[in-house]
Amino acid sequence: MKTRMIMTAGFAGLALGGCIQVKAPDKPIEINLNVKVQQEVVVKLQRDAQDLIQNNPELFPQ
């Protein structure tokens, strides 16, 4: 799907200008969403964690 779109854009470029070259990247584009999701989960939980510590001081001695 993605490759097709890039190819179409490439052909369109060739047809229009003739001198525009669109090179497809050698390596597939990888977007690692797992890291982001994990990070978002932890960030959202930070406030809960602060409350947790404040509400249970006996479980979090310093």
């Binding site: 994990q38 990070q39 939980l45 930070q46 964690a49 947790l52």
Partner: protein
């Protein structure tokens, strides 16, 4: 008639509640007494998994306190995880970002399966997922 009965009953209940509250506060301070020494000396420390760990040599009493705290921590992590629809590990790890960042110099901590470290004057390198945590 009923009202007359209620007042003393309320007073008794209040007295029990007060005694209970006092008892609990005494128990809480007794619990942290031996532990706070172990914490400041670095014999007991915080781990990135959200639990406490024994880093040095401690008495059986302190060891049991740590175990008991960890069991209770697991309970509150489980509650939070259920509330937010995340895993218990995520809830625990998020809390660890807080416990690790508030450590004082001289206290012990451990990230992942690494060795125990002692916090110096500088801030410690938190796990990457804590990076943007407020």
């Amino acid at each position: 008639m009923t009202r007359k009965m209620t007042k003393p009953a309320l007073m008794i209940a209040a007295a029990i509640a007060l005694a209970g509250g006092l008892g609990m506060s005494v128990a809480a301070s007794a619990q942290s007494a031996g532990l706070s020494a172990a914490l400041s000396s670095g014999a007991v420390g915080e781990q990135a998994d959200g639990y406490m760990g024994v880093a040095g040599s401690v008495s059986d009493t302190v060891r049991k306190e740590v175990e008991s705290i960890n069991i209770k921590r697991r309970q509150v992590y489980t509650d939070l995880a259920g509330k937010r629809g995340v895993t218990v590990q995520d809830a625990a790890a998020a809390t660890a970002c807080q416990t690790l960042s508030r450590l004082k110099a001289g206290q012990a901590y451990r990230i992942g399966a690494g060795a125990w470290q002692t916090k110096g004057a500088a801030a410690i390198a938190l796990p990457s997922y804590c990076a943007s945590a407020g």
